[in-house]
Each structure stands twice: as structure tokens, then as C-alpha cells.
């Protein structure tokens, strides 16, 4: 006994319904694919550029290519050239190519200290032309932490050597210090004795000598003063006196500027 009869009204046009359902589903899948494609710039026109580098280290396919922080493309592929270098092909969205000029540079940089590696392209100058399809772009690699450490190491090592030499020299000097100190003590003792002797001499003889010298100079001064005031010597010595500023009768007071 059949549960469902072929002539059941619900089965009428079933094939058509299934066909329509499949078509709608397929259409939906296609539209989704297209939408995703558009979102990922699959259908946007692109320009290929390449650069040559010694090593492909830290460069991967699919790596983002950025310009001023914006994603403008990606690394399409890496190939080994005949001379064992690496040719890296970039695809750049054509809309951004107006900033990628012949003097632009591609640099491998790290986004932040622990961020992912990206290829960053520097904007070119206005006067330069935009790069053509399949053109080569200059490339440089940002110095990594290891390279920085290497450079610091190269500079610090000679400094450390110098410090070691200074320390050794200081050791040598300090070793001789007790002897020098002893000599210095002896010299100071001798100097103190000399000063004591000098003090004895100056306390007794020097004041008398100074007094006599001063008296002699004063007497000599008086003699010279008296002689200088005596005629005819006095007539040759101009006595100090107050002078009057002249006023010229021809050119007035102006002339006195000379």
C-alpha cells in the first residue's frame, strides 16, 4: 500500500521547484564569490613591479605592501634569479600608482617593535613620472635589531679595551703612591723648617730693615722735592695746575672736537 500517491497535489511541478531552488543557490554562491572578490580587490586593475634583493629573508608571498600606512598591494611571488639573488614581484593597485614614482623606494620594515614585516613604499617626488607596469623599484632593508646590536658591539668593544688600559695604568700609579707620599712628607717637613727659620729672621731683622729703607726713601724724596723746587731746576718742571678748556674765536666751540 502506497503511503503517498503519485497523483498527490504536493508533488505537482516538483522538478521545476527543485531546479529553481538549485539555480537560486548557484546564483547566490556566484554573487557571494563576486562580492568577496570585489572586497579583496580581485577584480581591481593592478600594476606589477619588482625589485631585486640579496636575500628573501623575512619576505613572504602575500605580504602587505603599504604606502603611508595604507595597503596598496601585496607581494605576489619570490623567484631565485640566475645569479642567486631574489626577484620579488609586487602587485600594486593601479589607483595608487600615481604616488609610486621612479624615485620611490621599497623598504622592508617591521610594523612596530613586534609587528609583522611589510613592504613600505615611499611616495615619490611630484616632478618624477609614475612607474610603468613590470618596472623595477629600488629596495632597501631596514636595519634589524641584530644589525643594530652588531654595530653597538663594534663601537663598545674598543671603549672597553681603553677602560681596561686606564685601569691598569691607575694600578701602576697607585702602586708607586706610598713612595711619592713619603717623599712629599719629607719635602713638607723640610719646607716647614725653612719657613720657621725665615720667620725668625723676618721677626727680628726685616722690620728694622724695612723701617730704615722707608726712612731713607722718605729722606731721598724730600731731597729730590727740595732740589726740584730750587731755581733753576724748578723752571724746567711744570707745576700741576687746573687747566681751562679753550673756546675758539673762529669756529666756536665746535672746533674743539679735534
Amino acid at each position: 500500500m502506497a503511503i503517498l500517491h503519485d497523483d498527490d497535489a504536493r508533488f505537482k511541478g516538483l522538478e521545476k521547484k527543485i531546479g529553481l531552488f538549485v539555480i537560486i543557490a548557484l546564483l547566490g554562491i556566484v554573487l557571494t564569490v563576486i562580492a568577496v572578490g570585489i572586497q579583496h580587490d580581485v577584480f581591481s586593475p593592478k600594476t606589477r613591479l619588482f625589485f631585486i634583493t640579496d636575500s628573501g629573508q623575512s619576505i613572504d608571498e602575500g605580504m602587505a605592501v603599504k604606502l603611508s600606512g595604507f595597503n596598496i598591494g601585496k607581494v605576489e611571488k619570490l623567484e631565485l634569479t640566475d645569479d642567486a639573488k631574489v626577484r620579488v614581484t609586487l602587485t600594486i593597485l593601479r589607483g595608487y600608482m600615481k604616488w609610486v614614482k621612479s624615485d620611490s623606494k621599497a623598504r622592508l620594515v617591521k610594523e612596530g617593535v613586534i609587528g609583522a614585516n611589510v613592504i613600505e613604499i615611499t611616495p615619490g617626488s611630484d616632478k618624477e613620472k609614475s612607474l610603468e607596469h613590470n618596472a623595477q623599484i629600488a629596495f632597501e632593508r631596514e636595519r634589524g635589531l641584530g644589525q643594530v646590536v652588531d654595530q653597538l658591539y663594534a663601537e663598545v668593544i674598543p671603549l672597553i679595551d681603553d677602560l681596561k688600559r686606564v685601569a691598569r695604568r691607575a694600578d701602576t700609579l697607585l702602586a708607586g703612591l706610598p713612595a711619592t707620599q713619603q717623599k712629599l712628607d719629607e719635602t713638607l717637613t723640610s719646607a716647614r723648617k725653612n719657613f720657621e727659620n725665615l720667620e725668625k729672621v723676618t721677626a727680628s731683622d726685616l722690620p728694622a730693615m724695612t723701617r730704615k729703607g722707608r726712612e731713607t726713601v722718605e729722606k731721598a724724596g724730600k731731597v729730590v722735592d727740595s732740589v726740584s723746587r730750587t731755581w733753576p731746576i724748578s723752571s724746567n718742571i711744570k707745576e700741576p695746575r687746573s687747566e681751562t678748556l679753550p673756546v675758539d674765536s673762529y669756529s666756536g666751540e665746535k672746533e674743539k672736537k679735534q
Binding site: S234, S242, L245, V247, S249, Y250, S251, E253, E255
Partner: protein
């Protein structure tokens, strides 16, 4: 023989005695003639030091400092009523005030000497103050006041040191319209200044004679007097006046038709003015040269 020797010895003794009698009064006479100069008091010495520092500051153009120093000297002279010192410093202050642009203060300083109630300033000091007032008025273009003060100065002055300068001022005032009167005053001034031994004012008199002679179109006298003035001005080293003399010589020989000689004088005047940094005098010489260059 012994008698002859004795006579000779007595004669020698007499001769020595006579020589000593001559030398002793002569030495006394010389010692008497050599009178000692008066000893300066401590205040006088300090005042002189102020005065000398004031003059040094004035020569280097530091008029504010000169004012301070001269005021210091004046205060000391006033404290001991040293009339000559007070007059000297007031005369100096009048010049310094003029340099600082304070014409009123300059006149006030001179008025202190000329005021009747002031200490007994001498006629010579008053004549000097009146001469300066006349000069300042003339510099300011007030010829009436200048003439009045010259006359007052001449009243005070009886053989004073300012007489030659006063006649120079009179000649300077007459030069504009009365060349012959200017000539007469300048000639009188020349004699007075020459007798006083004032080379600077003697040169001024000669230049005024030359200026007057030029106005009277006596170009040979003008040339001669400018030349004499130039010789004296070179001795005193007054660059502005040397340039004026050379300009006068140039103009005098030009009017005698000696153009090339005149150009040489103007070139010398230009060079002297250039050395002294006097741009206006350089322009004057250049204009004269241009007029003579064909």
C-alpha cells in the same frame, strides 16, 4: 830772593781773599733769586686731579664723566673759597654743558662769574666769561646778544688774555657785511694774539684777514694770509682749519686765474677733510674742483 818769595805769597793770599769775597755774595744772590714755588694744599692737589681727569674725559668725548669731574673740582674750590679755581671750573662747566646740549646750564655757569654778588672774581675772569657768552650767542646765531657781550667783555678787559680773541669775534661778526671793518678788527686781533703768544688765535686772525681780503677782492693778500694761517695751523694740528686754509688758498688763486694750482689746493683740502672724516668739507672741496674742471 826770600823777599821776593814773601811778596809773591802775600799777593796770592790777597788774590784768594778777593775771589772768595766775590763768590760768597754771588752765591747768596743766586740763592735769593731762586724762590721756592708755593706748596699746594691737599685740597688743591685733589681739585687739580679732578680737573685733569675732567680734561681727559672731555678729550675722549666722555662729556658726562667730564661734567662729574669738573663739578667735583668746583665743590673743592668752593669749600676753600678759591676764587681762581671756582672761575676755572665754571668756565670748563660752561663748555661741557654746551657739549651735552644744555645751553641754559652753560649760560648759568658763566652768569655765576658775571653776577655782581658773587665772590670777588677778577676783571680778567669776568672778561673771559663774557667772551664765552658772546661766542656761544654767535654760534647760536644771536648776533645782537653776541655783540652786546663782546662790548661788556671789552669793558672788563684791560690788557686781559681774551682781548685778541674778542677782536677776532668782532671781525667774524663784521665779515658778513662790513669787510673793511672786519679787516681792521682782525689786524688788531693779530697784533694782540701775536703779543700774547697764542698761536691758535693768531692763525684765526690771519684767516679772518684773508677772508676779509677775499671779500674786498684783494686776492693776493688773501692768498698770503691763508698761507700764513696754514703754516700756524699745521703747527697746532687743527685738521678742520687746515682744510679751511687750503680751501681759501684754492679760491684765492682761482680768482687770480691759476686754475691748475687752485685744483691742487682743493685736492689737498679734500684729502685733509677725508683724513679728518669731515664729509661736508669733502663735498665742498669736490664742488670747487668740479667747477674748475673743464
Amino acid at each position: 830772593m826770600n823777599g821776593t818769595l814773601l811778596l809773591g805769597a802775600l799777593g796770592l793770599k790777597k788774590l784768594v781773599k778777593q775771589i772768595l769775597l766775590f763768590i760768597f755774595p754771588t752765591v747768596l744772590l743766586i740763592a735769593g733769586c731762586g724762590s721756592n714755588p708755593p706748596v699746594l694744599t691737599e685740597q688743591q692737589e685733589v681739585a687739580i686731579q679732578f680737573n685733569q681727569r675732567g680734561e681727559t674725559a672731555f678729550r675722549r668725548g666722555d662729556y658726562a664723566q667730564a661734567l662729574q669731574e669738573y663739578q667735583g673740582a668746583l665743590a673743592i674750590h668752593r669749600s676753600v673759597e678759591n676764587v681762581a679755581g671756582i672761575a676755572t671750573e665754571l668756565l670748563n662747566l660752561s663748555v661741557v654743558h654746551r657739549r651735552l646740549g644744555d645751553k641754559t646750564a652753560a649760560q648759568t655757569a658763566l652768569d655765576q662769574i658775571l653776577t655782581e654778588g658773587s665772590p670777588a672774581f677778577s676783571a680778567g675772569q669776568k672778561a673771559e666769561a663774557a667772551y664765552r657768552k658772546a661766542g656761544f650767542y654767535l654760534d647760536d646765531g644771536n648776533e645782537t646778544e653776541a655783540r652786546s657781550w663782546v662790548n661788556k667783555a671789552l669793558e672788563y678787559c684791560h690788557g686781559c688774555g681774551a682781548e685778541g680773541r674778542l677782536y677776532n669775534l668782532l671781525a667774524r661778526m663784521a665779515l658778513a657785511g662790513q669787510a673793511q671793518e672786519a679787516m681792521n678788527h682782525a689786524r688788531r686781533a693779530l697784533v694782540l694774539n701775536r703779543n700774547a703768544g697764542d698761536k691758535n688765535e693768531e692763525a684765526n686772525s690771519l684767516r679772518l684777514i684773508a677772508d676779509a681780503a677775499f671779500k674786498l677782492e684783494d686776492f693776493k693778500t688773501a692768498q698770503q694770509s691763508y698761507d700764513d694761517a696754514l703754516r700756524l695751523d699745521k703747527d697746532t694740528g687743527a685738521a678742520t682749519k687746515i682744510a679751511l686754509d687750503l680751501m681759501g688758498l684754492g679760491r684765492s688763486v682761482a680768482r687770480q686765474g691759476r686754475r691748475s694750482e687752485a685744483i691742487e689746493y682743493f685736492q689737498r683740502a679734500y684729502s685733509v677733510s677725508e683724513g679728518a672724516g669731515d664729509a661736508k668739507a669733502m663735498d665742498d672741496a669736490a664742488v670747487e674742483m668740479k667747477q674748475l674742471t673743464p
